[in-house]
Subunit: 91 residues, 2 copies
């Protein structure tokens, strides 16, 4: 699964475009964020991505969890978002 | 659907307990948060709730979106998290 790392300075619209593209091509993507500002940007991006996917009859769900990441040789607790795409079209 | 409003001062463990209880009894809950600190607490709470549900063979998924809320007669953009529970037991 591809991993996107989001920071507090990430532009939500740009991250949303990457999330939407990966859901279209691969059906899933992992988004990582360290700290409240980054978590907020990540969540905004994922919410915006739902709008980008709407015209493709796709939507997404998220499963958040904690993950330990090494950042500059220090262990930091980050949030990990597993994002899954699904079709909204009736079978 | 019950709505939980989370602030930046909310204790994630307490919110997680409420989320888990509502998922057990009703299968779904809406969580609202205004601002990065509140969004971060809400996401931490939802991640913690997954652990609380694990022994009940339940897990959850989240769908984030934007919502306009009236706060003290001012319109604020908040994040809304629709949280759905599901059984992890094999049929």
């Amino acid at each position: 699964m591809e991993t996107l790392r989001v920071s507090g300075n990430s532009r939500p619209n740009a991250v949303a475009g990457a999330v939407a593209a990966l859901l279209r091509s691969q059906g899933q993507v992992e988004v990582q964020a360290i700290g409240p500002a980054a978590v907020n940007q990540a969540i905004k991006a994922i919410a915006i991505a739902r709008g980008y996917l709407h015209d493709d009859h796709l939507d997404l769900t998220v499963q958040p969890s904690f993950v330990k990441l090494d950042v500059a040789s220090e262990e930091r607790t980050a949030m990990k978002f597993l994002v899954y795409g699904y079709s909204t079209q009736q079978p």
